[in-house]
Amino acid sequence: MTEQKFEPSIVAFCCNWCSYAGADLAGVSRMQYPTNARVIRVMCSGRIEPYFILKSLELGADGVLVTGCHIGDCHYISGNEEAEKRMKMTMEVLDKLGIGRNRMRLEWISASEGQKFAQTMKDFTEQIRALGPNPLPKQAGQKKPDPAKIKDVMNRIIEDTGAFDCVECGKCTTVCPVAKYNPNFAPRTVVLKASEGIVENVQTNRDVWTCVTCEMCNSMCPYKVDYSGFIRGMRAEAVKYDNVPVCSQGGLMQEVMRIQADSTVKQSRLDWLKPDLKVADKGEVFYFTGCVSYFDSIFKERPLKLSGIPQAVVRIMNKAGITPVVSNDEVCCGHDLNWTGDEAALKKLMKKNVETIKASGAKKVVFSCPECLRTFNMDYQDIMGDFDFEMVHISELVDDLVKEGKLKFKKGQKKVTFQDSCRLGRHLGIYDPPRNALKAADAQVVEMDNNRDKALCCGVSAWATCDETSRKLQVDRLKEAKKTGAECLVTGCYKCLIHLSCAQENKTQVPKEQIDIPIKDLSVVIAEALE
């Protein structure tokens, strides 16, 4: 054999009632088509999650075909309409990741269209063959962990987080937002079990995933036990035993991030840039934008307009005479992977990001996403040592610029209340800059009952375990915000915005008027107030 011809591996999802029947008909009719596709039967195309597509690609598929009934013919009335929306979104995400939308195809094939099925197979195989192999690296099989070592691992986590300092006072439980609604959960129980040497259940215990890592416990613990660090450490161990989280969007987010970690292809994540925004390739100030572009695609159906945030940030900086570096080479910071047990991916992402920033020559990196800032400031530096560039949140930057007289605002802004996100507040200790920034923008800041280090959580972290408790937490928070009489709830974190507005959009048992407060991002509010 001289030259091996590339034979694409294709996954084809077929709905039971139309496409699968169409494939049957193709068979009965002895219609020939290439052997590359492996068919997976599903009851409806509506069942196909974007995650399936990305996971297939990550695991080595070169193309993914999704087939369903024609619009209007769905056995389940409108399943295929949902599928169409999702697949469009998936295609957008694939474009942004640089994998490209043409590695997948959505086709409507009825039970009578055996011919069409065979033709689609042929065409799609050729299409993929033309594209060449999937650019993502092949996944090596994971090594099986040694359960006998769990105890050592746990001891290391105890050492690492100072859990030996726990005096069992229970204060952590009293402030834990999850414990409020889930009586079976308490931060100290997690720690105490480990200290007692009861560690086998890491493999099965769901408490690890119940925690929202909001660090209310950390901030209250008199002895500074790092409960969230403890949980994170346990998660890294738990996933090795397939004790994995229930992720939002079926794990799509994590998939997108993991692909970013592994992929070498060029993304297109700067599609939010508008022509009036001045940015540069090299310079003193780097603006790390985060994954808004992806979120905008994924939440296409929701009126979030997250792209407005980086736009606002650049606008603010431009106004102050700063032309920031923004880079298409930046990748996800790895926060969500790190907090769902995948430290390896974090390290890969870290390497890419740090290289990108170093290449830009920046002395200062500005973040509008507190998770990115936390990950850089704490996790990256923990691993890599101190960076030689400064890291600030946009609110800190605005605070400084105002003090330097470089920003001017219009008079007469609204009455607002500020949501301290856990990463910005308790994790990073940034409380005053956002408030100062808002006040500078002539907004009247009123406080919710629980504010600053007591701020309530938006209910979900790292896209894991969005459940009944999350919903209750979100409602609690929205009620507090509404009670202040503020016209607007300002958040400093993309995730708070996404999660809290989700609670408003979804049906909750709570009367609408108790929670319907507009939610806006801090940078957007600031930018709007610029003179």
Partner: protein
């Protein structure tokens, strides 16, 4: 060389030291910062573990201390400079202008009626008001008035003068000036006592935000028959008497996060006492104490706890606690942890056992005297084990809470002990 001794601080430790010295024939200059001696003990209602009435046992000591032929009680004064060494310290004392002639004032109180101002009373922990001319409390020693120059409009703006008109003894003198007294003493005893930490910065307890959350010292004033509510326990929100009381321990203490990793030594006991007193006031009152470790470890203390449980129905819950509020009723909701389960329970009133911290001014004084203070502001003994109370400066000794958490009997013993050390030093120095 002089046999005189100075005692700084007129609380129970200082009073004990002064009396012990004066009784031995030494001349004692007792310097007290506030207008009256008595210190914190004067604010307490009862004392554990005997439930003795605090002022009943303290007042005679205050009177003794003031009228003792060998004492010179200098109130409303501060030590501002020290030179010299054991046997002959030259001490500068700033005697703040009181604007009232101590020799003329009889403490009759006619001036009080005429004074138009209202100032939160320090002695009543701000639960009631005093006037700009005032006596901190009824049993104050000396029984004379003081004008608080910050709040007196005559002194600040030259307007009013009512008290002067009211005073038949012509004791009021708006022109009075601060004076510096120079005293020579052979030894010095420092007993500057404690302050109560303001828990409003620890927002998890809601103090200052939720009306029905009180500090222990506020509660102590409230249950005192001579206090601002005449001994009635009242909620701030509606003046109603509470039935369900919660006492939360270690508020700010045993907490390195807020800078007080230490244990105050007395709170477990005073909260127990306060719970018992609640029940003594009204049969239907129920108290719950939330604690980390029940530190009842001096003579008769554990038995006291047992008695509180058995005879007074005090409930003890081994958990730290934080406070939320029922916004409608203003009932505090205490959140705690039993066996790793979050519980919340509504109470009518919450009393916080706040950290007792050394007085801020103690650090200033330490600088003046050349003493060492630890990171929390407690004055340090040079040799902790066998010479507690001896400092790096020969001739200067410590007593009471300023030298580390101590309850009343310990403070009294330390006061006597410091007195003994002062005498030893003077005798050894050849005085």
């Amino acid at each position: 060389m002089t046999k005189d001794v100075m005692v700084i601080g007129g609380g129970i430790a200082g009073i004990q030291a002064a009396l012990d010295l004066a009784d031995k024939g030494m001349i004692v200059h007792l310097v007290e910062k506030t207008p009256s001696i008595g210190g914190r003990m004067a604010q307490l209602d009862k004392t554990f573990p005997t439930n003795d009435c605090s002022i009943c046992i303290l007042a005679p000591k205050m009177a003794d201390c003031f009228s003792h032929p060998n004492t010179n009680v200098i109130t409303y004064a501060e030590v501002v400079g020290v030179e010299g060494k054991v046997g002959s310290f030259k001490v500068k004392v700033l005697k703040k202008a009181r604007y009232v002639d101590e020799t003329k004032c009889t403490g009759c109180g006619e001036c009080l009626e005429k004074c138009p101002s209202k100032v939160p009373s320090e002695f009543e922990m701000g639960l009631s008001n005093r006037k700009a001319i005032y006596m901190p409390f009824m049993q104050a020693v000396p029984r004379v008035m003081t004008i608080d120059k910050e709040h007196c409009t005559m002194i600040t703006k030259g307007k009013c003068g009512n008290c002067k008109k009211a005073c038949k003894r012509e004791a009021i003198d708006y022109e009075m000036k601060d004076k510096i007294l120079e005293l020579e003493v052979g030894a010095i005893v420092v007993a500057t006592g404690f302050d109560s930490w303001d828990p409003s910065s620890a927002t998890e307890y809601g103090y200052g935000r939720y009306p029905n959350v009180f500090t222990a010292l506020e509660y102590e004033r409230m249950i005192n028959a001579a206090g601002p509510t005449h001994g009635h326990i009242e909620r701030r929100s509606d003046k109603k008497r509470p039935i369900k009381m919660a006492f939360i321990q270690c508020v700010g203490s045993r907490n390195p996060q807020v800078g007080h990793p230490y244990c105050c030594s007395v709170c477990c006991m005073h909260s127990t006492k306060e719970s018992m007193l609640a029940r003594e006031h009204h049969d239907d009152m129920e108290s719950t104490i939330f604690y980390k470790d029940m530190r009842a470890c001096a003579k008769g203390f554990w038995e006291y706890i047992e008695r509180a449980k058995r005879d007074y129905g005090v409930r003890y819950v081994n958990s730290d606690a934080t406070v939320q509020e029922n916004a409608e009723t203003h009932n505090p909701i205490v959140v705690y942890d039993v066996g790793g389960r979050q519980q919340s329970e509504e109470f009518d009133m919450v009393v916080l056992a706040t950290t007792l911290v050394p007085r801020k001014e103690t650090l200033e004084l330490a600088k003046v005297l050349g003493l060492k203070a630890d990171e929390f502001g407690f004055l340090e003994s040079s040799e902790r084990i066998l010479e507690f109370g001896k400092t790096v400066v020969p001739g200067i000794y410590l007593a009471g809470y300023a030298a580390g958490p101590a309850d009343i009997p310990e403070s009294v013993a330390q006061g006597s002990s410091a007195a003994a050390k002062a005498v030893e030093a003077i005798v050894q120095a050849g005085g």
